[in-house]
Symmetry: C2
Subunit: 391 residues, 2 copies
């Protein structure tokens, strides 16, 4: 039977790239394509023990329906962690989600009417673009100049376009790895507040800083609820758990409860209790430090290999944290057309074009350095450089 789908389905994209990149599962391919953490660093034993302890209480309520907001002790623990990052939050400000991707979906559900404008960085996280697009949002991009965000142009854009929300990943952004300065954070917040536009601050990578200490989130500078903050355990603990959170005002949390009730009732009770056990009985701070040290080595290695192999052929970002380097080839190159050559040489990346909402810039590639081993980074960057003459 042929189905008649809703209009929004026309705005959902089944990424051709995703299909193409399925070959990266083959063992001979060195993949810089995924956004995956290094699985060998997952605290598998500690999470195993956390689940065993939660089951060991013999309390069957770990398998029963739970509250939509989330498990209260976990909300309290996350609020305490948020306060360490400079964000004023109590348990009542914390809402648990199935990863921060669900946070994005619920925020879009609450805010986006068809045709509403989302103002975002250019390029931006592909998953956010897809989510907003599925709610039939339109996009405008945050204007930049040589030194960062252009404040006058930003204010003009807000006046002209009246965006419904501003979506920002200010810290070690996916895909570029770049970070807004403190001054930019304060400036964007000031302008957004002036025009009553909420900022959605997506911060999956904030803890993964490799040069000095962490940078304060935008929400730490806000006094009202101008900023909705999205956090996740996917990068600091493990993505396969599917656990993230939203920090927001009490009124927003109330709306999120209603939205999530219709979406999936609540996030797994067992998962939340096990994660709470892990956070309060093991050493998550030490664990994150372990990840940082490993990823810093991989970032430095990839930057070094890029310098040795691409020096005259490309430019790239030098991120202070996160999981990605953004490489830009001369304009003549199309990284989408280059990808089959890369795959034939057993190396993979994500072409940059899909991270632009207007999809017109073809010369970038996103390179992930957290998942491949140091040896794979050395070999893979050499392979990547070797395909350029073929093009």
């Amino acid at each position: 039977m042929p189905y008649t789908f809703a209009e929004r389905v026309n705005h959902m994209e089944n990424s051709a790239i995703r299909e193409l990149l399925k070959v990266t599962e083959q063992p001979q391919i060195i993949s810089f394509a995924g956004g995956l953490p290094a699985p060998e660093l997952f605290p598998l034993k500690e999470i195993q023990e956390s689940y065993a302890q939660v089951f060991g209480t013999g309390d069957p309520s770990v398998l029963q329906y739970g509250t939509t907001e989330g498990y209260l002790p976990l909300r309290e623990e996350i609020a305490a962690q948020m306060r360490i990052k400079g964000i004023q939050a109590e348990a009542e400000n914390i809402f648990l989600t199935n990863g921060s991707q669900q946070g994005l979906d619920l925020i879009a559900k609450l805010f986006i009417n068809p045709g509403d404008i989302v103002l975002l960085q250019n390029p931006s996280y592909l998953g956010a673009i897809q989510t907003f697009r599925s709610y039939q949002a339109n996009f405008e991009t945050i204007p930049t100049n040589g030194t960062g965000i252009d404040s006058a142009a930003l204010e003009l854009s807000i006046k002209l376009n009246r965006p419904k929300i501003i979506y920002l990943a200010p810290t070690y952004q996916n895909p570029t790895g770049t970070t807004l300065t403190v001054e930019e954070r304060k400036m964007v917040l000031r302008i957004a507040s002036k025009y009553n536009i909420p900022i959605i601050e997506d911060d999956p990578y904030g803890e993964l800083h490799y040069d000095g200490s962490s940078i304060l989130p935008i929400r730490s500078f806000s006094t009202e609820d101008e900023v909705v903050y999205l956090g996740t355990f996917s990068k600091t603990l493990a993505p396969g758990l599917r656990l993230g959170w939203i920090v927001g005002g009490k009124d927003l949390i109330t709306k999120l409860v209603v939205a999530k009730q219709g979406t999936d009732l609540h996030t797994s009770t067992l998962l939340q209790k096990a994660t709470h056990y892990y956070l309060t009985h093991f050493n998550p701070i030490q664990h994150i430090e372990t990840i940082r040290q490993a990823y810093k080595i991989r970032r430095d290695l990839m930057l070094n290999e890029l310098k040795e192999n691409f020096n005259d052929q490309a430019i790239w970002t030098e991120p202070s944290g996160g999981m990605f380097i953004w490489l830009t080839l001369p304009e003549a190159y199309d990284t989408l057309k280059l990808l089959p050559y890369a795959l034939a040489s057993n190396v993979a990346y994500v072409p940059g074009v899909n991270f632009f909402t207007d999809g017109k810039i073809y010369s970038n590639m996103r390179l992930n350095f957290s998942n491949p081993s140091p040896l794979q980074i050395k070999q893979g960057i050499k392979r990547l450089a070797s395909i350029l003459p073929n093009y």
Copy 2:
């Protein structure tokens, strides 16, 4: 900062009832209000062992990002279970969700434009009504006569209203506990197919049959993909896991993948592997039989207590399965206004009005018999009867 929400938020309801029923968490209250399974019957030890075994492999991929469709061996196992129920399905027809509530949300996302009509039973599951409403659906109800669904009136309604989908919980429905006959199932399918209207068959309770064997799902009678089937482990295993599935044609699964990618990427890998271990290494069939025996005793006891205490004052359904009895008082009663009296007598139910999309019938209450103990059922029904004279 005051937020400007999307139009759909005006269609989301923060149930006042839900707030009122929060007091049912107090231990002195006997609650027939929830839709909760009996936690003392959860296979806690077996699930604990399943998680331990999955962790015990030492394979960190259990904590890594997974595929959106779901873990292939689990999809194969569910497909095999579906075939036992008469549904032709292979792994490629199975899509994993965070409980069947997420199945409803994804189906609504794919099918419902604002203003589209959903044709459904009157009354229907509140969570489905809320989900469809959040996508700004309108509702028409399936016409019935003294003996069940009125086929002529149904065909006329479809011709007149051109519903986008038909939503049915044909087996031990929430809230009434009633079941469509095989003839009704075939008749609804025939008429829906004639007009190309997909049927969404929601089947959380099908395994919980207490009088004879199970009844064939509507999808078992369909030869094309006229029926999208929603299943869940919430009632047969445990709801706190949050795991359900959709059975659909390959084209629908492809659309669901794109929709879920924007919604929450995928369902927990760890959860899916542990559930697969449980299903293939323990005895889920015996476990479901244990639940059936316990719930049958509770159903019989509640029916008996209703007869002894309400015989001249109300009528009620006598469901052959599921978790609910639907009680109807004389029209003069308003169960919403009666609820505070019930709570003051330490007994709770859900007023029936919210299960009607037009919200005009006030004399029903939904009584759950799966969660309260036999002693609580005896005491609670007596308490409930005792409040009627106060009204």
